[in-house]
């Protein structure tokens, strides 16, 4: 519907839950989701990454307003929005996939590498840790960490400006930036294949099962501090020796 010509030119994505924007995908249900998605879309484009790719090309301005946690596909959704503003006090971002034994499958690897450069993207992706808004801003993950009391005003100011400006200028300028900076469809399709491969592998199932016992998918410490919970898992397979 948003792909039709429309008078709505700025859309703000917000969350009613103060703790969670989008926590992450339930990795035990990916096969199910994929089967459903395959019924809806064409071959090769049934992935979440390609859905987010289409989001990023919409002829409207998409604004992510983050309070609470956005991890995994939640972060990847925000990364496919045009701009991202977050509460300095409350926002948390993470790409925890590697900690589960997978790799972000919906554009997180590709978009973070472009936004923050190799060194910081490798830290975020390989470390699978939680990041507060202040550090996420320094790394370029979000546009700005804003004091919580000012977040609504900052987002409203931007949304109202854009919505009043001539639509064709907004749309053409957005399209040029997205064209010059976005990952290719091929990169996103490859990421989806790698993600699916890892989700079918043993480590993801075992580690997700362990985390479920510790409260994954329920409101509690494991979800609130997922970065800590991942580090507390026993090392998998041949991983008992650590470098130093």
């Amino acid at each position: 519907m948003l792909e039709e010509p429309s008078e709505f030119r700025a859309v703000v994505f917000d969350s009613a839950d103060p703790d969670f924007f989008m926590p992450h995908v339930d990795l035990t249900k990916v096969a199910e989701y994929t089967a459903e998605a395959a019924k809806a879309g064409g071959p090769g484009d049934a992935s979440l990454g390609m859905l987010f790719q289409r989001l990023s090309r919409l002829p409207v301005v998409t604004i992510g307003k983050l309070r609470g946690r956005a991890r995994g596909a939640g972060s990847e959704f925000l990364l496919a929005c045009d701009v991202r503003f977050a509460s300095r006090e409350h926002a948390v971002l993470g790409q925890p996939e590697v900690g589960f034994g997978a790799s972000p499958g919906a554009g997180g690897v590709q978009r973070l590498a472009r936004l923050m450069g190799a060194g910081r993207a490798l830290e975020v992706l390989l470390g699978a840790d939680d990041y507060d808004a202040e550090l996420a801003e320094r790394y370029g993950w979000i546009n700005r960490a804003v004091p919580d009391a000012e977040l609504d005003a900052v987002v409203d100011r931007f949304a109202h400006r854009v919505a009043r400006f001539p639509a064709d200028a907004v749309v053409a300028t957005k399209a040029t930036v997205v064209h010059a900076t976005a990952p290719s469809d091929d990169e996103l399709r490859a990421a989806a294949v790698v993600f699916q491969h890892f989700v079918r592998e043993g480590a993801v199932g075992r580690r997700t099962a362990l985390l479920m016992e510790r409260g994954l998918q329920t409101r509690g410490r494991t979800e609130l501090d997922l970065g800590e919970a991942l580090a507390a898992l026993p090392p998998d397979d041949g991983a008992h020796d650590e470098g130093a």
Copy 2:
């Protein structure tokens, strides 16, 4: 003349006006400028963007020192310089084109996307707002926001270092960086075509006329706070509904 071999290897671009470095192009005169430029240059290269492209390839080091406001083509000029230092207290940067109903035509879209990444470039370009030096530094628009009292010393230190170093090393290293990072000539030519298209369209003329009534092109509030003035214009054409 600067394209000739020269012993001047560092050029500082400064402004005598404390409020304005280069405010922006008079959009009502673009047709005139273009006709003049076409007399001087070859076909397809008569645009401001291609002039700035040539600036960025000069075998001298170009340094922008910003006090006051640099908007539109003023910002694009600075972006084509090698390095940019700005007064923390006084500098203001903006790409207001979308607020007029156009799109930056002289490399602003392409260079900002490369310098600050997609999210922040989209914010700057679509929001058409004014940015102080501190935020411009966080976004990578300028190298550094420097306390006004230290700005001259910082620029002089850099200029004098570069001017004393072996010329061939300076020139070869600059050329490698510019080659690896600059937008292509084709991207800049396409941006000029899009800009010209928008300038000939109705919205730019109507909005510029409204702003002229409010003091555009004269020293006063409208020029000092152009970001505010653009947001205060009535929405154009089918833009009366806003998203939320």
Copy 3:
């Protein structure tokens, strides 16, 4: 050996010397080094840049922990690591090659341009100055400047997380980021050729000889403050006129 499959998945590169991590290459010995390297490697791949390229592709996570100074090839080594953390109080980074009359030959130009964008890379490379950790962080040269008392803990936390995560997920994710962001082998080979050309030229020999008289390659002011020492050299050849 590190290129063999291994259970060590995180390697921390540290320095026992509190003042120097890797100061820089002795430019008077490059011909010697190159002859030695040519015996060991295949044609075209005997350069330090290609060695660092192989480092960046290792299926282990490489972590640079910087106290003291990393200049020239020392900085280029760190840039080829996956992540870089530095002591806020003590770390110093520099690419002094242009000040000697050369151009970084082992990936510094290419990696800095990608990490910090054109403007800041040109400042760092052409100015050949020393940068403290705080500014290096703002420019993206390092992941983070960390208070010295916390540096070991930050590095250990990251290393231990990565070492406990499933190896195949870590390795595949790293490979995707490196593939998308690294300079090409051809760019690195070209940089090595340019570097060798400059090292054979007169200016590098003359300037290195002057610096040797002033204490280069010995522990003292010239090495501690190389950025200052380079600016204090007399200008070379036709460089007596300075721009302003």
